[in-house]
């Protein structure tokens, strides 16, 4: 089971106008020694958020009191690099429920969907305008409606549709995860194994 179901999310956004943000930046390797899924939020973007001596880097967006919200809006190819799911756990633990970008690395996208963090892929031009808007006017809210597959910018009235696999959409809306599904088809899996042993 997923911790939370996903339905409608209406919130302000945090802009991160950088491309190719890799999972090493989201959560550096030296914080991966834990054996539980909790507590990664405090080290989210650790080396961008704090300097070497542990002081807050005031220019980084998470330390800027103007910006807050449950949606991270980031440049293209977000979540590239290492497969570490800790990156998603860190984003979720910090309080994010969705990430908007013009495209996501494959493993990161799968990891997000498996943890109820919605990756919303939008056109490059739309992303650029959205980033400009929320950087200038941080109070702007976005509404993400999963059932409608729509992202709606409240101040401008602009709305775009995003794609999501219908199976994954249902999982998110009902709070189900893949293991629930796979366990329910165990008979098919053993039948597959049986067929394959016969072939050999």
């Amino acid at each position: 089971m997923l911790k939370e179901k996903f339905d409608i999310l209406e919130t302000t956004c945090v802009p991160l106008p950088l491309e190719n943000v890799d999972t090493d930046q989201i959560i550096p390797a030296r914080f991966l020694s834990a054996t539980t899924r909790e507590g990664f939020g405090e080290n989210l973007f650790r080396d961008w958020r704090y300097d070497k001596s542990g002081r807050k880097n005031e220019s980084f967006v998470l330390n800027n009191p103007k910006y807050s919200g449950k949606i991270l809006v980031a440049g293209k190819n977000f979540g590239s690099g290492s497969s570490r799911e800790h990156a998603v756990w860190a984003l979720v633990d910090y309080g994010f429920r969705a990430v908007v970008s013009s495209f996501f690395a494959d493993i990161f996208r799968n990891n997000s969907l498996n943890n109820g963090l919605l990756p919303v892929m939008v056109q490059e031009n739309f992303l650029k305008d959205l980033l400009d808007l929320i950087i200038k006017e941080p109070g702007n809210k976005i509404r993400i409606d999963l059932a409608e597959q729509s992202l709606y910018v409240i101040s401008s009235g602009e709305s775009v549709r995003f794609e999501i696999n219908p199976y994954k959409k249902e999982c998110l809306m009902k709070g189900l995860d893949d293991i629930d599904y796979l366990l329910s088809i165990k008979n098919s899996i053993t039948a597959y194994e049986f067929r394959n042993t016969l072939k050999k």
Partner: protein, 468 residues
């Protein structure tokens, strides 16, 4: 019959069922696990109260979070020690084969699997590590997964995956002297960018790929993820069979020749369709080096870093941030730039062939005094082979010592960190900010280019100093 790609042949034969408008349920033949991305998956199973479904299909190693010195002593760092002990305990509890610290078969998961015959043509292979793509060199579908997916495979031996698109990258012609498979893949990534193959599974083909050893092919497939690909694979051929024949558990099987017959079918049919096709000329590739903070930011070693005018406006912020981090300026040349660290190792270049290339290059030369070198074999087997072949002696004479096997400075989870602000020429796979330690500046290159930097203390074209 409709012509099929190699990828589709393997994928189709592993589909347990397809969900309408959804992902496929894919059966997994081999599951590799390690200490960093598995503990939460085992905890999930316990929470659900379910067992490991097929423990015999799993192999565990400790590699990411272990030291490269004094491996016989307890791990000093408490969290790291706890993580390794958790893996050991989980393996014992569920009856999973485990190559822990000091086990004669221990090593980096992507080095150990192939060299011991756990990786075979036609298999589906996953591991909670993005460099699982390495195993594709044997003509397998191998890809990295997250911890929730590790839990799925532990619980059901299956995973839900949308079918990726297919790309074929052909590298034709012949490599020039001093140019290696690492340069091929760094070149390809520099051409198509770090996200250029996202959504695709890549088949590498062409005469330059066919001419590579298995080690060279693994280096190429290993870095498929660095251009965003789900994985990369190469059709098995005589080179593959010859390699596997030498692996005792495989080559000595009474039905080895029956296996060969099956493996021989593992190639893309003539006329099979790819969603995207790219071709590169091996003869045009020079030794490569990266100058920025993603693996796509690479140039030929004797070229200059792009000027700011060559970078599109929307990319310029990321480009500037990257160069600031590296302490470089747009348009500058890298040749002659001082280097502080050299790292030879990792699942990209920690195999025997890499150690041979490095040792042969430094033979009769001396390590530059300013260089701190980390020479880390990918496995116990590689370590032993390096001793047996006299490579360790050559290295020692040139001022280098061999560490013990681990992932080491590739991701610097252990003590093998590059200090802030220092420059490292590294044979690993990622030059992300802080990858080799907070503030560390990484330049990715081949074992030969690393060796050249190690003996001169500067970024050096290896072609100028090749032995024989």
């Amino acid at each position: 019959m409709e012509p099929k790609t190699l990828f589709d042949k393997i994928w189709d034969s592993h589909v347990v069922r397809s969900i309408k408008e959804g992902p496929d349920v894919l059966y997994i033949d081999r599951h590799f696990i390690h200490e960093v991305t598995s503990p939460q998956a085992f905890a999930g199973l316990k929470q659900r109260g379910i067992p490991v479904f097929r423990p015999g299909k799993i192999l565990a190693t400790a590699d990411h979070n272990i030291p490269t010195k004094d491996q016989n002593l307890p791990i000093k760092d408490e969290l790291s020690r706890n993580q390794v002990e958790t893996l050991e305990e989980n393996c014992r509890q569920y009856g999973i084969e485990y190559f822990g610290l000091n086990h004669p078969k221990n090593g980096i998961v992507h080095v150990v699997g192939p060299e011991l015959g756990y990786t075979l043509p036609g298999m589906t292979i996953v591991c909670g590590d993005s460099h699982t793509s390495t195993h594709g060199a044997f003509g397998a579908i191998a890809f990295g997964i997250g911890t929730s997916e590790v839990e799925m495979v532990l619980a059901t031996q299956c995973i839900l995956q949308p079918r990726p698109k297919r790309m074929r990258i052909s590298v034709t012609g012949k490599l020039n002297k001093g140019v290696t498979s690492k340069d091929i893949i760094l070149y390809i990534i520099s051409q198509i960018s770090t996200g250029g193959a996202t959504g695709y599974f890549v088949e590498y083909a062409g005469s330059a790929i066919e001419a590579l050893s298995m080690e060279g092919r693994m280096t190429i497939c290993n870095m498929s993820i660095e251009m965003g690909a789900r994985g990369g694979l190469i059709a098995p051929d005589e080179t593959t069979y010859e390699y596997l024949k030498q692996v005792p558990t495989i080559g000595n099987q009474p039905d080895f020749y029956a296996l060969l017959k099956d493996w021989n079918k593992l190639k893309s049919d003539r006329g099979a369709e790819f969603d995207r096709e790219l071709t590169f000329d091996a003869g045009k590739i020079r030794p490569m080096i990266t100058y920025g903070t993603n693996p796509g930011m690479g140039i030929a070693i004797d070229d200059s870093i792009p000027a700011i005018d060559d970078i599109s406006e929307d990319r310029s912020a990321s480009f500037r941030k990257s160069l600031d981090y590296m302490g470089f300026i747009p348009g500058m040349k890298l040749l002659g730039h001082p280097i502080d660290y050299v790292f030879l190792g990792s699942c990209t270049n920690g195999r025997i062939e890499d150690l041979r290339a490095f040792a042969n290059f430094v033979k009769g030369k001396k390590k530059a005094s300013r260089i701190t070198a980390l020479i880390v074999p990918g496995s116990k087997k590689v370590e032993q082979q390096a001793i047996n072949e006299g490579l360790v002696k050559i290295l020692k004479k040139a001022g280098f010592e061999l560490r013990q096997p681990a992932c080491s400075s590739c991701l610097a989870m252990n003590e093998d960190k590059v200090p802030a602000g220092k420059y490292a020429v590294s044979t690993s796979n990622r030059n992300f900010e802080g990858r080799q330690g907070p503030g560390a500046r990484t330049l990715l290159a081949s074992p030969l280019t690393a060796a050249a930097a190690a003996v001169t203390g500067r970024i050096t074209d290896p072609r100028d100093l090749l032995n024989n």
